[in-house]
């Protein structure tokens, strides 16, 4: 197993470098450069701008620029934000990361605690009312765009029913301890459900078909022929196998959650990384955009690495390769 993990980690390193190249290239391909916004300002002398360009290294050949950027990044310096003057990108990101993590974790929790049990139940009671209802909700969850669901949810549950706050992460900063936790949770519910909706539907459908597949396999027939109870056939022999592909799905989940967060956070005015990213785009804050892209890219890679390792933990066929 250690050999397998070592191999995965060794693949991870070049992938990481590729991510930095992609992030850098995307930023360079975008029209303009960090100072473009200021060329329109008649009060700034173009010559001064040109000097600043030279000083910032913007006139260097691309590979030199990349190398300089990479050197900085590898030391944890993501540069200064252009829009939020006086603040570094890493500072900004660190201030927003916790909110996005809460949101992602909460939404993943919903996905797993709702999607998996319903999917498993659906498989066991195939073609019953519950199964059909779950299937219908599944298609609904998959086809409904995030922002649209968010708007409906805000309209009904915030404005009409007043059950949940429509925006923000806290209602008052003076709350402490358990009350503050409940308050945060209260704010997480609508954006969390919105963000987790499509994944919940996907997990539900996926585990349903996996369970059905495994239930029909020869080793489940063997388990039954041994006289095991239906419980142990399902929870021991079937689930252990059905969950293996779900782990791969979880590896991709990091990317799904982070990209979904961009939209969900802005609809719910939820101050996380996604919202910060949109601010960066609107203001052509190149260092900020590159910083967030880099973090997202690394997170997705790390998610896949984690999934690969978990895969080996649960599947002996991979472990002993």
């Amino acid at each position: 197993m250690y050999k397998y993990i070592l191999r995965r980690v060794l693949v991870f390193i070049p992938m990481l470098l590729i991510v930095t190249v992609v992030v850098f290239t995307l930023a360079s391909l975008a029209p303009g450069d960090p100072l473009t916004g200021q060329t329109l300002d008649p009060n700034i002398d173009p010559e001064v701008l040109e000097e600043r360009r030279e000083a910032m290294g913007l006139n260097d050949p691309p590979h030199i620029q990349y190398w300089n950027w990479l050197t900085e990044v590898s030391q944890g310096n993501l540069g200064d934000s252009l829009h939020y003057s006086g603040r570094t990108v890493e500072e900004l990101i660190i201030s927003r990361v916790p909110n996005t993590i809460y949101l992602a974790v909460f939404s993943l929790f919903i996905t797993i605690s709702v999607g998996l049990p319903i999917g498993i139940y659906s498989a066991r009671k195939q073609y019953t009312v519950v199964d059909y209802t779950a299937t219908t909700f599944g298609f609904f969850g998959l086809s409904m765009p995030n922002f649209f669901f968010a708007l409906i949810a805000i309209y009904f549950f915030s404005f009409q029913l007043g059950w949940f706050p429509p925006r923000g992460t806290v209602s008052s900063t003076s709350l402490t301890g358990f009350e503050s936790f409940i308050d945060r949770l209260h704010h997480l519910i609508l954006p969390g459900i919105t963000l987790g909706l499509s994944s919940t539907a996907i997990y539900m459908r996926y585990i349903r078909s996996e369970v059905l597949d495994v239930m029909g396999s020869d080793y489940i027939r063997t388990a039954r022929a041994k006289g095991l109870t239906e419980r142990s056939v399902l929870y021991k022999h079937t689930l252990r196998n059905s969950l293996i592909p779900i782990i791969t799905l979880m590896g991709f989940e990091f990317g799904t959650l982070l990209s979904g967060a961009v939209i969900v956070e802005s609809v719910f005015s939820f101050p996380g990384m996604g919202q910060l990213f949109l601010v960066g785009i609107e203001n052509q804050d190149f260092p900020l955009i590159m910083g967030i892209n880099l973090i997202v890219g690394v997170t997705i890679l790390a998610g896949n690495l984690l999934a690969d390792i978990l895969y080996a933990v649960v599947d002996p066929r991979i472990r002993y390769d």
Binding site: D218, T222, G227, L228, I244, D315
Partner: protein, 330 residues
Amino acid sequence: MSNETLLEVEGLKTYFHIEGKVAKAVDGVDFSIDRGETVALVGESGSGKSITSMSIMQLIPSPPGKIEEGAIKLEGKDLLSLSEREMMKVRGNDIGMIFQEPMTSLNPVFTIGEQLAEPMVKHQGMNKKDAKKRAVELLKLVGFPRAEETVKEYPHQLSGGMRQRVMIAMAMSCDPKLLIADEPTTALDVTIQAQILDLMQDVKKKYNSAILIITHDLGVVAETSDRVLVMYGGQIVENASAKDLFTNPKHPYTVGLLNSMPDVADEKERLESIPGTVPPAHNFPDGCRFAPRCKHAMEACTEAVPKLRENEPNHHVRCILYEDQGGEKE
């Protein structure tokens, strides 16, 4: 019923209901197995052998399958009248079963030891530690020299033949009265096949259990069985001692099967296969189900399904060629 009778199957009908059609996979099957007896169930693919065995275990996928009629008596007790909970105590305990597909019949994510221990924990109330110890002994018995390590291994680390040995060990772990083996060697190499058959004979001698071996290979029958049931179109068409069947086959289908059997002594001889194919279970012909493929078919054959009659002592056959000879069964 004599004291020696272990299993009695009477008028068993197992149907599959699919899209308004009824597939009569098993359509009125009667036979019995004595204690310690090895009985072969033979017939071409699709004749209902597996469904017969799965009916005995009550592991028919339902829906669409359903045991419609009949009785399956183990030591006089009708298994079909048991609750699912009671039936679980029969499976793996009174009746062990092994299957055709050794490569896929073991759960890939559990060790051999864990899987072997399960029935003993379930049926014999052993604790896990004792069951694991017993698993090592069982593995040694079925021919694993380094059984202490094998229990810690996973199925994918073993070859097909080795996995079938594990299946046999598992099926025998609770000392069953009956071992059902559904084509246990079909998926294996010829050399391994012989080893597995030998092993089954050894195990049988040691435990004195009865065996129902399902196969479409008459070579296997010749090597293992006391008695043979020939199955066609969901019915038994001939039931005789192995010796009788090979020397004095009666049903034209049995004769056809024997003629299509490769002769080891004379490999060059051209095999004479039975023309045509097994009819689908949802669309059997009227009358004798074999008639459309039978050399001796006559008009009367298509009128009614012939009865299974005892044509000679302990030799039953379902064919009108023999209807005027011998007495009717029972």
